[in-house]
């Protein structure tokens, strides 16, 4: 658990920082990407154990990132948790169908998010 690396893909700098503080406090390592283009190359370079993915990203959007990740052998099995401001009624099922582990709507309940991360890492 501890020491696992989590990649935060989020274009909002404040939210990126907040998640970083959270995850560091639980002794995870972190890496960041702020748009869809950087996301894939950073993911390939860092090979994280789990990815937190925002949907509204510049340069293609989270769904594009998710789709491409699932087509890259080294990333296909990395669990992805979607954290988005969008409406779960329209996007939750779509995210799960595209291979995400879970969907959280912002603002997230941190305890629940931490539990979901632990669960995903245990798989």
């Amino acid at each position: 658990m501890k020491g696992n690396k989590i990649l935060i893909i989020e274009d909002d700098a404040d939210l990126r920082r907040g998640l970083n503080v959270r995850l560091r406090a639980s002794e995870y390592e972190t890496a960041f990407a702020s748009d869809a283009i950087m996301a894939l190359s950073i993911a390939k370079k860092e090979s994280p154990d789990l990815i937190l993915l925002d949907l509204g990203l510049p340069g293609g959007g989270g769904f594009v990132v998710l789709e491409r990740m699932k087509n890259i052998a080294s990333l296909a099995c990395t669990p992805v948790i979607v954290v988005s401001a969008s409406d779960p009624k329209t996007n939750e099922q779509r995210a799960l169908d595209a291979g995400a582990e879970a969907f959280f709507q912002k603002p997230v309940d941190n305890q629940e998010l931490m539990r979901a991360i632990q669960r995903a890492l245990l798989k």
Binding site: D12, D14, L15, G18, L19, V21, R22, A25, D35, I37, M38, S41, G56, P58, G59, G60, V64, A85, S86, D87, Q105, K106, P107, V108, N110
Partner: protein, 710 residues
């Protein structure tokens, strides 16, 4: 299947452009390509509007991608802009994306070229559609306004409780109040007899419409105007009642006219009674008067203008005793005939247009002088021209179809049945009949126009709701990001992740947290209620145990009630049948009702109880509190959208006023109903029902009771 794609290459290398073209051709595109490598040429190409997608090299000798993007922005062109480059690094690519490029691809890896173009074409189409929809919305609002204002009648819309929501200028002048003054006031208060006005609204709500309902408008200065009120209800997309659309026509003049007619008939009757010698005539008049009354009733109930006229034409012939009757309705500009109806001859054809009978001097007299024309033993008047079958005509009786203000056409009777003359009696009768027909025709036209207007309002209303739904979704999405940061950093501080906190800072941060959570609820409610209005709120009912549903709620609310020193209990009898409900939505209803109860109760108890309803079709649930209660004035309003209680305790904030409205919507979606009983100062109880089995002919065949014994 070939798709045409117009590509603008911003590229200095002919070879590279050809490479891309080959790629796209292989994917099945029919390509129309143009290559430019300088700003002027690109500008010209964009002005010609001859491309669907821009593929741009990152750097060229005379141009580069960032300048090309600036040009695109300057020309306000919204086309997919994709950078294709052999050299660009990630940082430069990100910079280009920030400047507005949609994607970038490497020249040596063009696998994504086709999917990227397809995706971006789709996105651009979406953006275009959204812009267009926004413009349409603006247009349709204006259109609705024009529709209201162009009407000659006083128009108003009210909500289902009879509160005015919109009026036109005619209503302003009739009532003496400005639009701003009228909106928000009860409809009934502008009438001499408010109770009658209220009955009118009840009739509309019961039957969906009301026609020719007579009312007296009372203006600010006390002026009274008799109006004929026609109204229909209008609904939103989901069929939920939105309000009443009504038109009031000034019939003061018509009333006077009708009264005169009545008096004349009375005089006639008296005159007849006076002379014994006219006993026979009296009898005949009595008969025709009965027929007249019957006709009046018939016409009053007829809605379709053309059908009405055809009946009228034959009845007039029968009552007066003529061989033929014709009825002409003028077009709106008054110099042509819109309809001609002929009665009393075989194979009647409408009168042909090269001989429009409206130009016959006799008909012109009727229309222009607005008077009855009676001719007997005519020889040189060229009346044959009027006869539908060119037979000779000796007697003629014609009357204008005339209301107080307008002439709609004429009624013509040809050839008295017994070969005799049309009498003065006949003349009076024709005049009365024509006046009756004019009134009925006017009403039928009004009613038809009203229906058209209401349908139009329905349509524009639906479009507006759809737009609003999209707008609110967008806004609530954007609000969530900053809220999310507030929430995250507040909890980081409260969880001690940035060091120990003193008790005072901790208390303040808890206030920030509480408020941010409240804001989150509000954004959710806002989205929910907009979705409900657009008819997009859906439920997925399934057999549900209420006791299971109560379980998690009990813990949360026991704790919250205990914090306020209030008792809390939920009772759920074990023999309670399963209900057909969407568990998430039902939970939402409970949370909303319990939050409300907590908000308005400072001491005593909150209790939830449930039992089978008497009719055995529903479970009835009661959420009772011992709070400040609801005044009799407020009771009918508490389920309204945006209703906020005036009794909100100082310590808690007013909400958006959407909670109960959403509850009502959700309960009704399930097929149940919700109501409240309360006395001010003595607490309140909200009741609602949830069906045990499928209501009406749903798709689910499940009957909750079968699974009762578990």
């Amino acid at each position: 299947m070939n798709k045409t794609l117009r590509v603008l290459h911003v590229e200095d290398s002919e070879r590279d452009a050809a490479l891309l073209t080959r790629h796209l051709s292989r994917a099945g595109y029919e390509l129309i390509s143009e290559r430019v490598e300088r700003p002027e040429a690109m500008r010209a190409a964009l002005e010609a509007k001859a491309c669907d997608v821009i593929l741009c090299d990152y750097s060229m000798p005379h141009f580069n991608a960032l300048s090309a993007l600036a040009l695109v922005k300057e020309m306000k062109v919204d086309l997919p802009f994709i950078i294709i480059s052999g050299t660009v690094g990630e940082e430069a690519a990100v910079e280009a994306m920030r400047a507005g490029a949609h994607d970038y691809l490497m020249k040596d890896n063009l696998v994504r070229l086709v999917p990227t173009i397809e995706r971006e074409l789709h996105e651009a189409e979406n953006r275009r559609a959204r812009r267009q929809a926004e413009e349409q919305l603006r247009g349709s609002r204006l259109y609705t306004r024009l529709l209201m204002e162009s009407n000659i009648d006083a128009l108003m819309t009210t909500d289902p409780l009879g509160i005015i929501t919109d009026v036109n200028q005619q209503m302003e002048s009739l009532s003496g109040h400005s639009r701003e003054e009228l909106i928000g006031t009860p409809f009934k208060q502008h009438f001499t007899h408010p109770a009658r006005a209220e009955d009118g609204i009840s009739l509309v709500l019961r039957d969906g419409r009301v026609a020719n309902y007579e009312l007296i408008v009372r203006s600010k200065d006390g002026d009274e105007t008799v109006v004929s009120y026609n109204a229909t209800t209008f609904n939103d997309q989901s069929g939920q009642l939105q309000g009443v659309f009504g038109a009031a026509r000034d019939v003061t003049e018509r009333k006077r006219f009708e009264q005169e007619l009545q008096e004349k008939n009375l005089q006639l009757e008296n005159a007849n009674q006076a002379g014994e010698a006219r006993q026979e005539a009296l009898q005949a008049t009595g008969l025709t008067l009965t027929a007249l009354v019957e006709l009046g009733m018939e016409l009053g109930s007829e809605r379709d203008a053309k059908q009405l006229l055809s009946r009228f034409c034959s009845t007039a012939r029968r009552i007066i005793g003529a061989r033929k009757s014709m009825l002409g309705i003028l077009s709106d500009n008054g110099d042509e005939l819109k309809h001609v109806l002929i009665n009393g001859i075989k194979d009647a054809k409408p009168i042909v247009h090269d001989r429009p009978p409206v130009h016959h001097s006799v008909l012109e007299t009727i229309i222009n002088d607005r008077k009855v024309v009676r001719i007997n033993q005519a020889e040189k008047l060229d009346l044959e021209r009027l006869s539908p079958d060119n037979s000779s005509i000796r007697s003629f009786l014609g009357a204008p179809l005339m209301s107080a203000t307008e002439v709609y056409g004429w009624l013509v009777l040809l050839e008295k049945e017994d070969g005799g003359d049309f009498t003065e009696e006949d003349e009076r009768m024709a005049s009365t009949l024509a006046a009756q027909a004019a009134i009925a025709y006017e009403n039928a036209e009004l009613s038809e126009r009203l229906l058209r207007n209401a349908a139009e309002l329905d349509r524009t209303g639906r479009e507006q709701l759809e737009m609003k739904d999209q707008f609110i979704s967008h806004v609530s999405h954007e609000l969530r990001s900053p809220l999310s940061a507030i929430h995250q950093f507040t909890t980081i501080l409260l969880d001690g992740l940035a060091g120990e906190l003193g008790s005072e800072p901790r208390e303040y941060l808890e206030i920030v947290l509480r408020n941010s959570l409240q804001l989150r609820e509000m954004i959710g409610d806002l989205l929910e209620v907009t979705r409900a209005q657009a008819g997009k709120l859906t439920i997925e009912p399934q057999p549900t145990s209420l006791c299971d549903l109560f379980d998690p709620l009990t813990k949360t609310y026991e704790r919250r009630a205990a914090e306020k020193g209030i008792d809390f209990r939920i009772t759920c009898p074990s023999e309670l049948p399963l209900v057909l409900a969407d568990p998430n939505r039902m939970g939402q209803v409970f949370s909303n009702l319990l939050d409300n109860a907590l908000k308005f109760t400072t001491r005593g108890a909150i209790s939830v109880s449930s039992r089978r309803d008497e009719d055995d079709e529903f479970v009835r649930i009661a959420v009772a509190d011992t709070g400040c209660g609801i005044s009799a004035d407020s009771l009918p309003k508490i389920f309204d959208r945006l209703y906020q209680s005036p009794n909100t305790l100082e310590s808690s904030r007013k909400g958006l006023g959407l909670g109960l409205h959403i509850c009502q919507h959700l309960v009704e979606l399930h097929g149940g109903r919700i109501w409240v009983e309360s006395k001010e100062g003595e607490g309140a109880t909200v009741f609602f029902t949830v069906p045990i089995r499928t209501i009406q002919k749903g798709t689910t065949n499940f009957e909750g009771e079968q699974n009762l014994n578990h």
